[in-house]
């Protein structure tokens, strides 16, 4: 399902203009990372996708639905959004109820709900925590619960707002796995992240926002190699890209495999 953003402007009631003219198309099944400085407008932008915010001018359409014409509840069947702060999202007394809520609300059959919930629990390794109150979990596990409750809704588009913050190495790989599984299912995954190495390893397309506008948009390779431009929005290239630069490698490398390949070739 395609997302189309046309000349989007958004001004908060305080008078602050957070989105200053953005036009973008995100195609069905794309894996997109959004990066950029604190306050660049990343969260504000994606909150337009599920209708939490409505454009001040311009438009956002999800498939054939203009977000101004559909309620947040209705849009939830097309878009799942995992909040940056899980505490804004979680409200149930136990993990299982929390994860079941979304798919139940979408009116899926009992069998489908059970299957989706089970899969979400397995992917996030929350199976042994189903009876726990989310508020007795640490912030990192609450974030995992928030993530599970959204993927259980089986929407064609999934948005993660800073999914890896505070997560350890093992949980970061778990999240990378979830993204890979969603990709296999043909879903669109949009992820806001400050973890540029994670971004380089898991996304095909990268959009860098700066001060309410698109600064760069393209293949991960093209975008993540542009050190000077990225610096304008307080983003560093990935660690191995920086290493490649210092070593004067001819091409931009963004992950371990590419780096080693280039080194092997230059040894010969």
């Amino acid at each position: 399902m395609k997302i189309e953003i046309n000349s989007l402007h958004f001004t908060y009631p305080t008078g602050l203009e957070a989105i200053k003219g953005i036009s973008l198309t995100i195609n069905s099944g794309e894996q997109v990372a959004i990066v950029g400085q604190n306050g660049a407008g990343k969260t504000t932008l994606v909150r337009h996708f599920n209708g939490l915010l409505k454009p001040t001018s311009g438009s956002v359409t999800i498939g054939d639905w203009d977000t101004t014409k559909y309620s947040v509840a209705k849009l939830a069947s097309r878009i799942g959004y995992v909040f940056q702060n899980p505490d804004e999202q979680l409200f149930s007394r136990d993990v299982l109820t929390e994860i079941e809520f979304g798919p139940k609300n979408l009116g899926y059959s009992k069998e489908k709900i059970d299957e989706l919930v089970k899969q979400a629990l397995v992917w996030t390794e929350l199976t042994d925590k189903t009876e726990t109150n989310p508020y007795d979990l640490s912030p990192t596990w609450r974030k995992m619960v928030a993530l599970a409750s959204i993927i259980a809704m089986d929407t064609p588009i999934v948005i993660f707002d800073e999914p890896t913050t505070g997560q350890d190495f093992v949980n970061v790989s778990r999240i990378a796995n979830v993204i890979a599984e969603l990709k296999k299912q043909g879903k669109t995954v949009i992820t806001i992240t400050h973890d540029i190495d994670f971004c380089a390893e898991n996304f095909e397309r990268v959009i860098a926002l700066s001060n309410g506008k698109v600064l760069l948009d393209g293949k991960a390779h093209e975008v993540l190699g542009q050190e000077e431009i990225l610096a304008q929005t307080y983003v560093d290239p990935p660690q191995l890209t920086r290493l490649g630069k210092v070593l004067n490698l001819k091409e931009t490398v963004i992950n371990q495999e590419e780096f080693l390949n280039v080194i092997v070739r230059s040894e010969r």
Partner: protein, 279 residues
């Protein structure tokens, strides 16, 4: 005597079976920049709470051993007395905003106001602190109408402005942009140069390696390893136990297997990696 002294510290939260901290022995000198790493649930936040007096003064439960800062035992002090010397930035910055104030400036001044700092001095301290964390431009904004990273900067600033002797930071850059993260590490490092002692929980290994004096690796509530960043953060034992390392370390480790990394020691910073691969 060390500025901070933890002796055989063991602590169990109420109604839990296994201790969250087990037999922790740790001495920290004045002006040290200590970084704490470890998996989710390893006990990093609990260690922060113990240093900041919340364990056992706020979280009850069973405690044994000693927590001393600047020669004073936490058990012989109240939380109110303790927080004068020790500042804690919580892991979840969204919960730290007081809710009592209309502007970011007032929010940051709140703590100083409470301890009766005179108006003029307060103003200059707040402005100074906001400059350090790069939020001078947010002074008149409402603390609730901010982005995630901006909120985290406000939370951090409201601790810094108190100029505590011991600064305890629980993942203070988790919501921050990459270059902003590096700047915060720099600011903290500079504060330790002028005598502040810092204990900082972090996952961002590259910057820990650059700026911290010592790394404490926690696992299941115990100290698994401690030492210089360049030693701890490149240790095979650490990697084999599921701790995250920098991409420089993992790529060199792989390269070493293929004979492409010739040095004995693995790199943890960009500089070390570049030096090694140039050979």
């Amino acid at each position: 005597m060390a500025f901070i002294n933890l002796q055989n510290l063991t602590y169990k939260y109420p109604l839990t079976k296994t201790p969250a901290l087990q037999n922790i022995n740790l001495q920290i000198d004045k002006g040290e920049f200590i970084s704490v790493i470890g998996a989710n649930g390893a006990g990093k936040s609990t260690l922060c709470y113990a240093l900041a007096g919340f364990v056992p003064h706020f979280f009850k439960g069973e405690i044994s051993g000693e927590i001393e800062v600047d020669g004073i035992a936490s058990s012989k002090s109240t939380l109110d007395e303790w927080v004068v010397n020790v500042g804690l930035a919580f892991q979840n910055p969204f919960n730290q905003i007081s809710g009592a104030k209309y502007t970011v400036f007032e929010e940051i001044a709140f703590g100083l106001e409470n301890i009766g700092v005179p108006r003029e001095q307060m103003k200059s301290r707040v402005e100074e602190a906001m400059k350090l964390t790069g939020i001078s431009n947010l002074a008149d904004r409402s603390p609730y109408s901010l982005s995630g990273g901006q909120q985290q900067r406000v939370a951090l600033t409201s601790i810094l402005v108190m100029q505590p002797k011991l600064l305890v930071l629980d993942e203070p850059t988790s919501q921050m942009d990459p270059i902003g993260t590096r700047e915060v590490f720099e600011v903290i490092h500079n504060l330790t140069q002028s005598g502040m002692t810092v204990v900082m929980v972090e996952h961002k290994v590259e910057w820990i390696a650059h700026f911290a004096n010592r790394v404490i690796a926690l696992k299941d509530g115990s100290i698994f390893m401690e030492g210089k960043p360049s030693d701890v953060l490149t240790s095979d034992l650490l990697i084999e136990n599921g701790f995250g390392v920098s991409r420089y370390t993992s790529v060199a480790r792989e390269a070493k297997k293929q004979g492409l990394w010739k040095k004995e020691k693995l790199p943890v910073t960009l500089f070390e990696a570049a030096e090694g691969f140039k050979e």
